[in-house]
Amino acid sequence: MNSKSISDATLVSQYIKGDEPSLSILIKRHQQRLYSFIYSKVYDRDVTEDVFQDTFIKVIRTLKRGNYNEEGKFLPWVMRIAHNLVIDHFRKNNRMPKFNNSGDFDIFSVLSDGALNAEGELVKSQIARDVRAMVEELPEEQKSVLVMRIYNDMSFKEISESTGVSINTALGRMRYALINLRKLIEKHNIVLTN
């Protein structure tokens, strides 16, 4: 029979029964799509190769252990595994920043403690001051909700109890406070980034 005419589901069940060539057909059938999918997320050939390999190792183990539930969705299932592995890859990289040897070695790019330097601290305090000044410009009702929520870290339930308005009203005031703050930022042309 022509391998193209055999469905994924049939190939999977044949493979589970011990027919190894079925796996080869499945990989060849979907390799390009899966590879492109992974590459479109990680933009690195070697990482793509690794994730592709890990994806199929997981597929093989799941099928051999008999844990696969055939619902006619082989490719989406494989894609989902690849997607999760891509996320794992990014998470791992965030935890362990890779040393990028680009010629000029800067040890502080690896050993940074995350604290701001003197300039950063100065900019941060200026930003806090600017924001505070703009909050003062808000209408009293909106200002009190925003201060309670952001500066006093109160829940909307607590805010509604202390101001005597419903939670929805408090939410609405918060929303308008943020909208107005954005307008003020635009009006004063303030840059709020460090």
Partner: protein, 47 residues
């Protein structure tokens, strides 16, 4: 007259895993053996 580029650039080889990767996967599949003992599943690589 404007040129017509009707032929698509061939990139069929660019988005494919290496042959070694495929080979590794097929060999891994052949080597992997799952045995069940008292309801527990054990994996072994017969390589």
């Amino acid at each position: 007259m404007a040129k017509l580029y009707t032929e698509k650039p061939s990139n069929s080889n660019t988005f494919k895993p290496k042959t070694e990767t495929i080979k590794f996967l097929l060999n891994y599949s052949k080597a992997l053996n799952v045995s069940v003992y008292k309801g527990l599943k054990f994996e072994s690589l017969n390589n």
